[in-house]
Symmetry: C2
Subunit: 233 residues, 2 copies
């Protein structure tokens, strides 16, 4: 049985509305329309653009749709379905989301949003049979995650700032059935990893000169991993 691969969505733009913003009209209106408390809803630039002005690192926040796409992409692969991929969401606020092996992520954004609101409130989502599907842990740094929890032999960041290569070359040179690799992909709309993240990775590569969307990078890397491991499906 090959070693599992890991995929980390780092600095993910997923959080509930910070306390400072819960009184802003755009947040209050949105909460009212969805019959939820302002502090429970997800920060989302599509609704809260006005409230987010002047917020720290505002350009890197409020994009839960990016996390949704990353999960939809990765969890639909045979690699994940066969138990060969562990996936982690590490948010911009040092919250860690652990993904259960049996999670089926909703393709509908509305359902995903409901699931995340529930997770931020209750810290865990279980199946009817009691299996843990999602777990949220507070105050876990990226360092805690990659050094103490994942313990991969190689931590590979993907960024346009990295060394130029192709998806197949990158995977061919790093993935084998005896080595545990972790791929790290940004969960934010633009910009680069903060120094805290990139300094903890062993190397940084780029698989597209003009920059590919995160979900495209995920699709290509995981597909090449399946090919490298000769996974049949």
């Amino acid at each position: 049985m090959p070693q599992p691969l890991s995929l980390v969505i780092a600095e993910a733009a997923l959080e509930t509305v910070p306390k400072k913003l819960t009184d802003h009209p755009s947040v209050r209106n949105h909460a009212e329309k969805t019959s939820r408390k302002p502090s429970e809803i997800l920060l989302d630039r599509s609704y809260h653009h006005a409230a987010m002005k002047g917020m720290q690192s505002d350009w890197k926040r409020g994009r839960p749709d990016i996390v949704h796409l990353a999960l939809v992409e990765a969890l639909a692969t045979p690699l994940f379905k066969k138990g060969l991929l562990k996936m982690y969401i590490h948010t911009i606020n040092d919250k860690l989301i652990l993904i259960g092996d049996n999670l089926r992520i909703p393709k509908s954004y509305l359902r995903f949003e409901g699931l995340m609101i529930d997770l931020f409130k209750n810290k865990a989502i279980k199946s009817r049979e009691g299996q843990l599907l999602l777990e949220l842990r507070d105050n876990i740094t990226f360092g805690d995650l990659v050094k103490n929890m994942i313990t991969a032999e190689r931590i590979i960041a993907l960024s346009t700032k990295g060394i130029r290569t192709s998806a197949d070359q990158l995977v061919f040179q790093n993935v084998s059935d005896s080595r545990h690799c972790a791929f790290v992909i940004g969960g934010f709309p633009k910009g680069h990893f903060s120094e805290d993240i990139s300094s903890l990775c062993d190397c940084t590569y780029s698989i597209g000169s003009r920059g590919l969307e995160g979900h495209v990078v995920i699709a290509r890397i995981l597909y090449e991993c399946e090919r490298a491991l000769s996974l049949t499906y």
Copy 2:
């Protein structure tokens, strides 16, 4: 310059709420919450499940999120961005959506939904500079599309009912820079193409024994097309 490839999302589960259902409470509530007319909103199983019971082919309808994912996947590829892929959405009601070369599809589902509602109402979306980004045409059959509009040399359907192959083999055997191929992928949640569709395709292949989600099939086929055409990006 290579011949363009085409991608058709067929029997796409994208439509506005049919007249018969506009008085149903689930539709009226949803329309009210979003400040739109019931006849203008998109039929969506996440909101209108109760209203859809007993509707013809209800299991194949009301999933605009599937079309969203297909567009997000395909339009983010270098193949599309370099003008080598034409994409078409053909809906279950014989409406055809033409995708402009410069369209940037919103990753946020909320924004996509707004765009589609606008398109169904006004039949066209233009950029500020007047470029046509999206166009909706009524009463175009799948036959009209593939025989008279796309005029591809090979029309290849992807379905779990097809001949078992791999994405790289399928593309290697069919895609070259002198032949125009059209790939046809279902835009519905489960089941198979109707006979009207599959009888108009030259061949049907399957690239995963257990069935892959449509967006995964799109990601893999388009990536292999880029490799077959030695596209650098």
